[in-house]
Symmetry: C2
Subunit: 430 residues, 2 copies
């Protein structure tokens, strides 16, 4: 090969980073691949927009088919986002025998299996390292680095915006609304932050991680999701007091043939390696039967970090091109998907209640817990100012989600209980 | 291929783990590779020794050539340790066209380039993921996951024994000798702990990491090494007081075309991700120009963790066998090795001195520092009990190693300075 031509679909934050990494690291890339690599075409919305990039004229186009049907383009890099129309472009690109790199977790969480099958059919590679945890090479670590092990648990801080918000709330004692507004001002959160703060973005990434780590086809619909909007300053104060750190944790666990996958605000023991992952950083904790505890830490987003993942995928494809072995690396899931039911999901829980401050309430509460076989690790009661109420905070022992939910239903019916203020999963103990 | 046959050189801690991982995860391995894999021969010292392994009869042999010359064996796994005679076996195995997996950092740090070249010549793979940081897939992350980036800094806690000792000393206020004795009792440190506590083991791993990360042939002789024997309880108390954590850090830094590689006890800012890596755990912090900060954390040793790295290498070789592309993945270093001189090595330093408790001493000390252009970030003086001495502790600003060494020479000559008690590098600030 004399050179390798890349076509970009999208030239926003990540696309610009890809152009820069290819240009700045051309020597290293050429040394590894054996020939130069260059960007031949890039799809943009507005070809006349001013850009801070050193691009030859004629590269920009507003027509996606100029990229995906260009016979000289070997690899299509999809960094435009979107789901349905983007999928159509990639299907066409694969039919044109183009290899694909995508950073699009939304697309992969929804249409991943179908696109990967089509890639194999066409002897094409389709890599998507950048779709999870930005610059952290976590997919490759699961597929290659830990290929010999049986992975039983993955816990991920895979959304930088929510980790930034929770870190600020914890460290500075601020409210969710205040920190979100600040994050939006600084560009760390989008104008419509729903996909981040409601946990959808993290859920998509956990679906991708679970599919690879557990070798089952896990989709977005299999992930139980709750976000961080309801996290109160009081919750974070109790966390601190009890030796926990609140994180939005993607939790994926396998037991026997069954799995559970969730994204929810979780109290992590401070001794857990993920509890020290702060600000906009991401990390994925992986537990394998043989290897034990590992963790992969790094930037989860950003132009250049995400671009390194995209271009590392490009390098992998280009090495495969040189060896003539494209389209052979996808592994078809080994197992049928089986989800745990609520009696099989085991965790500790943190619960904060407002109750009438009267004699015997605590005894009523504890008897409901013991009726459902749920024990406590910690319990405390404090007066609530302004009102004749008490705040009861407790952390349970390990219990099934079913038993815990039944307990909650009965608690909500108990007269003196005014309100269940908050309820979170607790993880990270040995 | 109907099946793949593996021969083991060595059946100790790691070798037994390899047998177990291959047996326990046979389904997953076969799913990925497309055929079963089994251990055909294993070299041991004593074929009659009782072993807690489920092995067919006839597998054990005391003759290495039964393994390396067996025409049916496809891959030789070297987990016996040793350097010169082990190298001869591997050379012979490569001539017999066997692919190789080794966990032997001593061998790779000394003869790596030569063995890798011989492997390429023979169209054989030679992988050595397990040689650095046990179960953490760090070599693959450098070579594949971060292939597109230009790595400028690597900091590693790559020796579990010394990290265990320093963690215990810090957290429990114990002396080096006491903790070492306890570690030896518990089997965390060897009877002759020199290679670990003097930093040699870590230096070998840093040579391997630097060779891959900087694409230069870095040998053990290029690594400046000092160990942890001289770390005093007082040093750890000051660390704690000043907001640092003491770690044995392998430090590899590239600036322009030049590099420095060292292993030394280092005071890390508590905000640095490596400062929370405790007990026998390992971690490698990697800074890339584009990706920024990443960290890879996990078990650095142990039977099953190290075995997962070995067997993941086996999987990579077996996938290459199926595709017919063995012997093509080694990348020849891109750059000639150039080491920084002491004027180019920049760091902060921690210094602890015992001085005569008399008027003007501090002024003398500070004037020597300023003469060499070395400023302070922190300085404090405390009385030393029993003697009429004062203890002076200081942390410098960034300075060249040359200027710092010249300062030390002059300080040692200063009359009122009784003793330079300790001097350490300080890292981790922004």
């Amino acid at each position: 090969m004399e050179s390798i031509s890349v076509g970009l679909l999208g030239l926003g934050t990540v696309g610009s980073g890809v152009v820069k990494v290819i240009q700045d690291h051309q020597d290293k890339l050429a040394h590894q691949i054996g020939c130069p690599v260059y960007v031949k075409k890039a799809l943009v919305l507005d070809v006349n927009k001013e850009r801070n990039l050193d691009l030859e004229s004629g590269i920009l186009t507003a027509n996606p088919y100029d990229v995906i049907q260009d016979p000289e383009i070997d690899i299509v890099v999809e960094v435009m986002g979107g789901i349905e129309s983007t999928k159509e472009y990639l299907v066409e690109a694969l039919k044109q025998k183009k290899h694909i790199v995508t950073a699009n977790k939304d697309l992969m969480a929804v249409h991943g299996p179908e696109l990967l099958a089509l890639a194999s059919e066409n002897q094409c590679d389709l890599f998507y390292e950048a779709s999870v945890a930005g610059g952290i090479p976590i997919l490759r670590s699961l597929v290659d680095g830990l290929s010999s092990d049986r992975i039983t648990k993955m816990m991920g801080i895979v959304n930088g915006t929510t980790n930034y918000i929770l870190t600020k709330m914890s460290k500075q004692g601020l409210s969710f609304d205040d920190v979100l507004a600040e994050a939006q001002r600084l560009g760390f959160a989008e104008a419509d932050p729903s996909s981040d703060v409601d946990g959808i973005d993290a859920a998509r990434k956990m679906a991708i991680l679970s599919t690879l780590g557990f070798s089952m086809n896990v989709g977005l619909g299999d992930v139980k999701v709750s976000g961080i909007r309801q996290v109160a300053e009081e919750d974070l104060r109790y966390c601190d007091q009890l030796g926990y750190t609140m994180k939005l944790i993607g939790y994926a666990h396998r037991q026997g043939e069954k799995i559970e996958v969730s994204v929810e605000p979780t109290l992590l023991e401070n001794s857990h390696p993920l509890s020290a992952v702060n600000d906009e950083y991401n990390a994925v904790y992986v537990y394998g039967e043989a290897v034990g505890e590992t963790m992969f830490y790094g930037p989860g987003a950003g132009s250049l970090p995400t671009a390194t993942a995209v271009v590392s995928d490009l390098v992998a494809i280009m090495k495969n091109m040189r060896l003539g072995v494209n389209g052979k690396s996808a592994v078809i899931p080994q197992f049928p998907k089986k989800l745990k039911d609520h009696s099989e999901i085991i965790s500790k829980y943190f619960l904060r209640l407002h109750v009438e401050d009267e004699v015997g309430v605590l005894a009523n509460i504890t008897s409901i817990f013991s009726k459902h076989g749920v024990g406590f690790e910690k319990i405390m009661q404090n007066p609530v100012h302004e009102q004749r109420l008490a705040e009861v905070v407790l952390v349970t022992h390990q219990a099934s989600l079913e038993a815990y939910e039944n307990t909650l239903v009965e608690l909500r019916d108990l007269g003196p209980i005014r309100e269940v203020k908050s309820s979170y999963r607790v993880e990270g103990g040995k």
